[in-house]
């Protein structure tokens, strides 16, 4: 079982898990196993059974494209990092997954903090903790 680190942008596909385990002796086997465990993650990172071009895979800190590609061996103890292209922090008001009312509401109730509002770790009262009640 290797540890696979899931980037924050893909965590909704793993139920919010930051790292998951997957089986396989090569990167290909690990990815296929991962896609079986988390089918929606599979559709995000695989393209015609191959790794999508906007996702890079690192085994022990090295880009597998500079090793043996998907045939790169993955040690039991190895850490695999998935790294998709990440543009920056996407403003909440443009996030398609959020209902517009939710963003507007967040902006109205705490005008300075809607970005923190929408993060799951802060959504449930997190920002209230940051801003003590007067």
């Amino acid at each position: 079982m290797s540890v696979v680190r899931i980037p924050p942008t893909l965590r909704s596909e793993t139920g919010g898990e930051k790292q998951v385990v997957a089986d396989g002796g090569t990167v290909r086997e690990v990815i296929v196993d991962l896609a079986e465990r988390f089918p929606s993650l599979g559709t995000q990172i695989l393209e015609d059974g191959d790794l999508a071009p906007f996702v890079n895979v690192y085994v022990e800190g090295e880009d597998v494209r500079t090793l043996e590609g998907l045939d790169t061996e993955v040690d039991e103890a190895a850490t695999v990092i998935l790294l998709p292209a990440m543009a920056g922090g996407s403003p909440a008001e443009r996030a398609p997954h959020l209902a517009q009312e939710e963003v507007v509401q967040a902006a109205e109730t705490a005008p300075h903090c809607p970005r923190e509002k929408v993060g799951p770790s802060l959504r449930s009262g997190g920002n209230r903790t940051l801003r003590p009640a007067r």
């Binding site: 890079n56 543009a87 997954h97 005008p111």
Partner: protein, 464 residues
Amino acid sequence: MAKPPGPPSSGDLKAHARWSAFADRRARGWRWGNLPVPPDPLHWSANADRRLSPPATLLEVTGYRDLLAQVKGEIDEIDARETRSLLDSPAPPLLLDVRERDEWEEGHLPAALHIPRGSLESRVESRVPERDREIVVYCSAGARSAFAAKTLEELGYARVRSLAGGFTDWKRNGFPVELPQTLAPEQRQRYSRHLLIPEVGEAGQLRLLESRVLLIGAGGLGSPASLYLAAAGVGRLGIVDDDVVDATNLQRQIVHSTARLGEPKAESAKRTLAELNPDVEVLTYRERLTSENVDRILDEGWDVIVDGADNFPTRYLVNDASVWHGIPVVHGSIFRFEGQVTVFKPHDGPCYRCLFAEPPPPELAPSCAEGGVLGVLPGVVGSLQANEALKLALGAGDPLVGRLLLFDALSATFTEVALRRDPACPVCGESPTITEYIDYVEFCQGRPPAEQVSGSAETRGEAE
């Protein structure tokens, strides 16, 4: 080498003793070490305890002139003409100016290093770590440099000579003199903590004051980056941002303030930076970076670009332009609790397209999944970007070229992965397939763009 003195023939005892000490030190291989000095029958009882009788007691030093004469006898001197010819040799000696600051500011030998005599002992080892480096030390007339040369030998520098006649004689010969650019007294105070670091020092600070950094975006990442770069005295900052300050920005965009709501971000940032450091010239570009304006903006002449954009179209535009203009990009991105920093240095390391040749399709653009970022996260990542930009401007340290640093604020961990150049990269690879700018359409509008269009003006992005 300077005068090879022979033993004085006359009965001048002082001269004889000087020569004796000098010749002895030469015989011992130019080290002023702890070896016992052979007895001198004229002045020194062979039975005396030598440990208590250092060589200086060989002479009756009755004043400054005696002391100077003795020291000059113990060191090597070189004249201006020979020094001048050495400067044109393939391995010129290090010129070390030990005069006071005001003398230095009136002119010095070309490429000389300045350490005033008073702080020579404490500072020379960090400035000149190599003990076998050939050094010509000088002052105004050759006296202070003689003492300095002796001190340097005592510190273990093996190849030191003092410039006979000093700077005065150098000038009299009509040899080249460099007028140093120096910091004003208030700058010396403002940047004093930089001046204390050998890797920065006055030369580094002057370099920063002459460097030019372009910031793409005055948002979450551009805020701390621009503040630290301005505070550090980067002489010219450019800010590209077409957005206005919004209430939702203030949770993290610390270059702005509540009083600036509704103001253009570029202007708001400029006001804050001008208040922080009047040394810094801030150029504002209240426009979104596109294929139409990118060359005009980059042609202004920038040493480093700090990319704090939040969208793929700008990222790819900045990347392609930076490769074609040969300007390194300090790349930062953030999402919720995690951030990434790296340096894309054209042709020295990978570029953004070596990692991701094309942007992801809109429906799969991961950054569109959901928004949100912890307010302090851009503070960490933007500060790391400022750190990299300062290193690049100074030419110090190991920039994050070919390394991607991942920061996780929740676990408070940094992870590094290796980035390598892709020989098949469409922009910086062996046979580039992209040779002109592409304006990708903004993905995160909640509607997928039908196609990539050129010169699209309908996208509007806010920098992170």
